[in-house]
């Protein structure tokens, strides 16, 4: 991990940040701008409640329920909100469907826009310069960093999240899952598959 500075020259720098943040939280609490118990609640929500399992539910449902898939195509915001995933950074959604003709990849070159409501907080790499700089100019190279090779005759469509639209990639349903339940299917859906830097897992990969 690039930011796992548990020792080395940057250790004192990060200890300094740790102290600064503690002082800031204390100051802002004293001034009545924040309530540390609310900060705890926000952190706990994103640690334990809002994460990629939400998106995996959306994807698995789209694989098993044609009516839902159709709704997701027409109005992803309403379809996703109908499952209760209404939280912030998911107010305006569009679903991008992978096929044997097209592979979608989502990025935010300007900051870190990400569909928190269905994927939770973004991984560090999503917010960092290597991904943000290269996803638009060399998407196939970025995908290779994730072990993915897209054939030249398959389109790669990159979506730069420059506004408040948030994107979820609907990966292709793995073969050999015809009789699988929605719940079982959801376990095949990874965070990266919904960003476009991965595929859904095969049955063999979860057995």
């Amino acid at each position: 991990m690039p930011h796992d500075h548990s020792d080395g020259p940057e250790h004192s720098h990060l200890s300094d940040i740790d102290a600064r943040v503690r002082a800031l939280e204390s100051l802002l609490s004293e001034k009545g701008y924040i309530d540390s118990a609310a900060v705890d609640e926000i952190v706990d929500t994103y640690q334990t409640k809002i994460g990629p399992r939400n998106g995996a539910h959306v994807v698995a449902k789209s694989w098993t329920d044609p009516e839902f898939r159709n709704w997701l195509e027409r109005d992803a915001t309403a379809a996703i909100h109908s499952l209760g995933y209404t939280s912030r950074q998911g107010e305006h959604m569009q679903a991008l469907f992978n096929s044997d003709q097209v592979h979608h990849l989502v990025v935010c070159t300007l900051c870190s826009c990400y569909p928190w409501s269905v994927l939770g907080l973004p991984p560090t790499w999503y917010k960092s310069p290597p991904f943000r700089s290269r996803a638009v100019i060399d998407p196939r190279g970025v995908l290779q960093d994730f072990g993915i090779n897209i054939p030249d005759d398959v389109s790669v469509e990159v979506h730069d999240s420059t506004a408040e639209m948030r994107y979820i990639v609907i990966p292709e349903r793995p073969t050999g899952t015809d009789d699988w339940s929605e719940d079982a299917l959801s376990k095949l859906v990874t965070r990266n598959a919904m960003i476009g830097t991965g595929f859904a897992l095969s049955p063999a990969e979860v057995s």
Partner: protein, 220 residues
């Protein structure tokens, strides 16, 4: 502005390092920063675009060398200092030295779920008709504003095609200046990789951006 945040197309940062879903945070201070920044939103002292503008306005060398949550931290401090919420002396001591300013609200734990699940939609009641429709060819503005914009450098003065109309959304360039939301039509615009990056790119590849009407002109 042409700041360090506008990263699309830059080179030399090396490969992307994947990471597992957990841990969500790599240092204890990062989770506190996330929570503090979300909680501060309730104070109503800045809007989304003002916070983005503060983050991208820091010196490029700083922006590129600190962890992402620290970018959030430094920008929030800049905004709070500018509004008289905190002073340098208070930040150094960690103790209140002047009275707090009046804020809209303080977020308490019993309201957190409601606030998170209500979100903050940026679509507004539609006014007038969109200038473009799906399939129209447009050219993006050639412009280098010194203030906040969401039209990245790599997509300026480029020819693209309207793919769909997303809706009528707050215009960030104005909202960041505090001169009003001035909502306008937002479009999904598709560009070929060859148009943006050159003939050696795969002719099957495209990049889409979400762009507001003031960024677009009809191709003459």
């Amino acid at each position: 502005m042409n700041g360090a945040a506008d990263l699309g197309g830059m080179m030399g940062f090396g490969p992307v390092d994947d990471e597992p879903e957990f841990p969500k945070f790599h240092n204890a201070w990062e989770e506190r920063v996330l929570g503090i920044i979300v909680a501060l939103g309730a104070c109503g002292q800045w809007n989304l675009d003002q916070s983005r503008s503060a983050r991208e306005s820091m010196p490029p060398a700083t922006y590129l060398s600190i962890p992402y949550y620290q970018i959030w931290l430094e920008a929030a401090i800049t905004l709070m200092r500018a509004r008289g919420m905190v002073t340098d002396e208070e930040l150094r001591s960690g103790q209140q030295l002047i009275d707090p300013i009046a804020v809209k609200a303080t977020l308490h734990p019993e309201n957190v779920q409601k606030v998170l699940y209500t979100g903050g939609p940026v679509d507004r009641p539609e006014q007038g008709e969109p200038a473009f429709k799906a399939g129209d060819t447009v050219v993006t503005l050639n412009s280098n504003p010194t203030t906040h914009t969401r039209l990245p450098r790599y997509a300026r003065d480029k020819i693209g095609e309207i793919e769909r109309i997303h809706g009528f959304h707050v215009f960030p360039d104005d909202n960041a200046l505090g001169i009003g939301e001035n909502p306008t039509w937002l479009y999904k615009v598709r560009f070929s990789a060859q148009t943006l990056w050159g003939e050696d790119k795969n002719p099957n590849d495209t990049i889409t951006l979400d762009l507001w009407e003031p960024y677009l002109r009809a191709l003459e």
